[in-house]
């Protein structure tokens, strides 16, 4: 019950954020900013709604389709009702990056779930815990420019690549690079993250996509291994009883 309430609360906050942004500055919201908003919010929230998902081979296409539906719905509202303009090429690129994030997040969640089950956790508990853990990790990674900004600031003189490395860890930066939005120099981030005033390069979109592809391949192998281990431990636990 508490989990459901948190889900609804998170969704309500996100929906309010998108609605307020669109209503407040729909006409003047730049295309790249709108694309970032439309892709980042559903992507970063998606794992919260995977608590009931099971086998990734069966569930993943459905989850991706639901996510795509949310983005299309938001884009439709923004485009038709509020007049937000969206450039199609960056939208396509950002969608591809979002897809990469979702696949990696889903596989991570499934792997963690298998590990927890292997450790003896109840199936429902394992699903909820893994969904929350992946969501938290995703948000933590997305916000690295904020909470790791001071580290980059302190080390930029000796480690000139520190700001770029920190930015490269953020899925939000990956989406921003694809959308063509210099999110660090937007008014809010510029005031709250020190990275905007340091020399920093966004990761290349091609590199980001390849990285997600490789990560997904590695996670698929790990997931298979985790499932096998989980089954074996379940069998041995059963036999011990």
């Amino acid at each position: 019950m508490a989990f459901r309430l948190l889900q609804v609360a998170a969704f309500a906050v996100a929906a309010a954020l998108v609605a307020l942004t669109l209503l407040h500055g729909a006409a003047s919201l730049p295309s790249s900013g709108a694309i970032l908003l439309l892709t980042a919010v559903p992507t970063l929230l998606a794992p919260l709604f995977w608590s009931d998902a099971g086998d990734p081979r069966r569930e993943l296409p459905g989850e991706i389709l639901s996510w795509a539906f949310v983005v299309i719905l938001l884009a439709g509202i923004g485009w038709i009702v509020l007049g937000v303009r969206l450039a199609l090429a960056p939208l396509g690129l950002a969608s591809l990056v979002a897809l990469g994030i979702l696949v990696v997040a889903f596989l991570s969640k499934s792997m963690l779930e298998a590990v927890l089950q292997g450790m003896g956790a109840h199936a429902a508990t394992a699903r909820q815990a893994s969904a929350w853990a992946v969501t938290a990790t995703l948000w933590l990674a997305a916000s690295t420019p904020l909470w790791l900004g001071p580290v980059a600031d302190l080390n930029a003189r000796h480690e000139p690549m520190a700001p770029t490395i920190i930015l490269a860890c953020s899925p939000l930066a990956h989406l921003a690079a694809a959308a063509g939005n210099d999110v660090l120099r937007g008014e809010w981030f510029y005031g709250h993250s020190s990275l905007g005033s340091l020399q920093v390069d966004y990761p290349r979109v091609g590199t980001v996509l390849v990285a997600y592809l490789l990560l997904a391949a590695a996670l698929s192998l790990l997931l298979a291994a985790a499932r096998r281990w989980s089954q074996l431990t379940a069998i041995s636990r059963h036999a011990a009883k």
């Binding site: 063509g180 939005n181 120099r185 340091l198």
Partner: protein, 361 residues
């Protein structure tokens, strides 16, 4: 024969005029030191050039470096060798389909503007079409009705780094400098739109319709906002006041205009080379030196009296300061701040050389 002699005499007088002016206003010994500092700075920049002619692999820094060479007392030009032509080639190799000159999506506006300045300094008509493209990109990039902004919006008329993000006074001044170098028609609407943003960034309630505006005549980073590094709310500060004042002059506002006078009053009253004036911070200090030199040269005053009644010769004092801060390898960098890349010696050296060149003019 007489005609030729007259022409040679006239040319000699024209060449001698700037030197005589600098000699009049600058201590001769210091002038010599400043020239040596420029030479050492240029040597440093030359040592930083990559095989492709770039400096720090950046269009922005390469363009500033190129400008530093072309505007130096050495009178370098493209005939002087690959250390000039390779920099030009690097810049022209980064021209994009939209007219911008940039190696990345970030800083497109800043990079294009400084590249226009550098290409203009070559005085080579070969680059006219590239400059026309850059001019088109910058004017198109200005925030106005085409981006869905109405004149009432506080972003209106501004220019940002180059993405779709918020505009600021710093990028606007660089863009205007680039547009001026690219011979943009003074009647082009870009100047009047820019003035809307400039007015809204000045702490002068008579010409600023924003509720936060105070009345000291100085400038802030963007309407109602300064970078948090300065911890000064919406108080005016040196870097932006120099940027604002030079923007007013570039946009064709007369020196006698009360906005210009108010900004000039602020910058001379709050004069300091120890910190970024109006703050207690050394962030953006070399940016200030660079913009201050440009604005004082453009304004045309060699001496002024500060808020404490002390007289200053800005050419002497700025040259002395920069000479004293130069590293043994000829470079400059800000040891007290890494904000806005001031820990990058290639960038700060180019800025410092350009500032010295303004003082030597």
């Amino acid at each position: 024969m007489l005609q030729r002699l007259a022409l040679v005499t006239l040319a000699g007088m024209m060449l001698a005029a700037p030197a005589a002016r600098a000699a009049d206003t600058m201590d001769p010994q210091l002038r010599e030191k400043a020239r040596r500092a420029v030479d050492a700075g240029l040597n440093y920049l030359r040592s930083q050039q990559a095989e492709d002619g770039s400096v720090a692999k950046s269009v922005g820094i390469t363009a500033l470096s190129l400008r530093a060479f072309l505007e130096s007392h050495r009178g370098y030009n493209e005939g002087d060798g690959p250390f000039i032509t390779k920099q030009v080639e690097f810049l022209t190799s980064k021209v994009n389909a939209d007219g911008s000159i940039s190696e990345s999506l970030q800083n497109r506006s800043y990079n294009t503007a400084v590249a226009l300045n550098a290409l203009a300094a070559t005085k080579n008509p070969k680059y006219d079409s590239i400059m026309a493209g850059g001019r088109k990109f910058l004017t198109g990039h200005q925030i106005d009705e085409s981006e869905g902004y109405k004149p009432e919006h506080r972003y209106y008329g501004g220019v940002g780094y180059g993405g779709d993000e918020r505009p600021d006074m710093s990028n606007l001044y660089i863009a205007l400098e680039g547009l001026k170098a690219a011979s943009t028609d003074p009647k082009d609407p870009v100047w009047q739109k820019a003035l809307v943003f400039v007015n809204r960034s000045q702490n002068r309630s008579e010409s600023n319709d924003q509720s936060w505006a105070a009345n000291d005549g100085g400038f802030v980073y963007m309407p109602g906002w300064n970078p948090p590094e300065f911890e000064n709310g919406t108080n005016s500060y040196g870097g932006m006041t120099a940027a604002g004042l030079v923007s007013l002059l570039f946009a064709g506002v007369d020196k006698s205009d009360p906005r210009v006078q108010a900004a000039y009053q602020w910058i001379t009253s709050n004069y300091s080379l120890e910190v970024n004036p109006g703050t207690n911070a050394k962030h953006g200090l070399f940016y200030f030196y660079n913009a201050f030199a440009k604005v004082m040269a453009a304004y045309g005053a060699d001496e002024f009296t500060d808020g404490k009644g002390q007289k200053h010769n800005w050419r002497n004092e700025l040259a002395q300061k920069l000479v004293s801060l130069q590293a043994p390898d000829g470079s400059w960098s800000n040891p007290n701040s890494n904000k806005w890349w001031e820990d990058k010696p290639q960038l700060v050296t180019a800025w410092s050389v350009i500032a010295l060149e303004q003082a030597l003019k």
